[in-house]
């Protein structure tokens, strides 16, 4: 029998971009653009990224090192305000085990020189599989990929 435990944690990642809010928003809203930066490391084998960008729409991608554990991301979009806010809830599985459920808010705000992005993730980590420290590190990597996408 699995020992049921939970760990709750929240982290925030902030970015400044020299681009207008609409360009930053499009990197999340346009499936072709999001697929360019959103996913695991380059050397992972990956499924196709799927994104139905509307409230109630789903997003998914899975992948992992060749022959290794499959990391699966499945999200549902809960709120969209064009060029300002996206709220989604996502589950992560490692193979068959659900390891976390998270609420992720992306806020996009205009600044004098471009855009401030504030990403807030509030999550529950299940049964000791993962912790918020690893998740924050992985999410920082994703934002590094977003930076590279927006700045090239």
């Amino acid at each position: 029998m699995t020992k049921r435990t939970t760990t709750h944690a929240t982290f925030v990642i902030e970015r400044e971009y020299p681009h207008p809010p609409a360009k930053v928003f499009a990197a999340f809203a346009d499936p072709k653009k999001k697929a360019r930066w959103f996913g695991g490391p380059d050397d992972w084998e990956k499924s196709n990224h799927q994104l139905d960008f509307r409230v109630g729409g789903k997003e998914s991608i899975s992948g992992g090192p060749a022959g290794g554990t499959v990391h699966a991301y499945n999200a549902e979009i809960w709120d969209i305000v064009d060029n300002e806010r996206i709220v989604l809830a996502y589950e992560m599985h490692l193979d068959a085990a659900r390891i976390s459920v998270s609420l992720a808010t992306t806020e996009i705000k205009p600044t004098a020189t471009g855009t401030r992005l504030i990403y807030t993730e509030q999550g529950v980590y299940l049964d000791g599989y993962d912790d918020a420290g690893q998740r924050e590190e992985g999410t920082q990597q994703l934002f590094g990929q977003l930076d590279a996408f927006l700045n090239t």
């Binding site: 939970t6 549902e76 609420l103 807030t120």
Partner: protein, 159 residues
């Protein structure tokens, strides 16, 4: 311009009912309606629940004094999706709240049920994103305190 405030809270309660009875109050549609939806001053317009992982729950209800309090006829709606269900032990769900069709929050809630002192200990943890024009985490926590109190009454009356 939109504003978003993030906050979390935890409520712990002891119930004299066993974990399976506490769990059933969440999983059984009639039981859930009795303590979660029904209430004095509320006019229930609809309540549907499909209690399984990936299933949803939706309730729409009016506050009978809505026009006096809010200046217009007011309907609230709660939309829920169940992310994880572990029988008798844990329920993780995401829910949004809206007033007259305008969404004002999205939350992630975890309900843990553990055997304790001839009954159960329930730990309710909510992480919320609260939007412009809605309530705030203090009101939300008060709301859940009341609901979890109604659950206590329901469990006592149905014993």
């Amino acid at each position: 311009m939109t504003t978003t405030t993030h906050a979390s809270f935890v409520i712990e309660r002891h119930y004299s009912a066993s974990p399976p009875r506490v769990y059933a109050a969440w999983s059984d549609p009639e039981a859930k309606r009795a303590w979660f939806v029904e209430g004095e001053g509320w006019d229930i317009q609809s309540f549907d629940i499909d209690f399984r992982e990936g299933g949803s729950e939706k309730s729409v209800y009016g506050f009978r004094r809505g026009e006096e309090v809010f200046g217009e006829k007011t309907a609230f709606s709660n939309e829920t999706v169940f992310n994880e269900i572990v029988e008798n032990e844990r329920i993780v769900f995401t829910y949004s709240m809206a007033r007259n069709g305008r969404r004002f929050s999205v939350s992630l809630a975890t309900v843990e049920i553990k055997p304790a002192d001839k009954g159960s200990r329930l730990i309710f943890t909510e992480h919320g994103a609260f939007f412009e024009g809605g309530d705030n985490v203090t009101m939300r926590e008060q709301g859940w305190q009341e609901l979890l109190g109604k659950l206590d009454t329901f469990l006592a009356e149905s014993a």
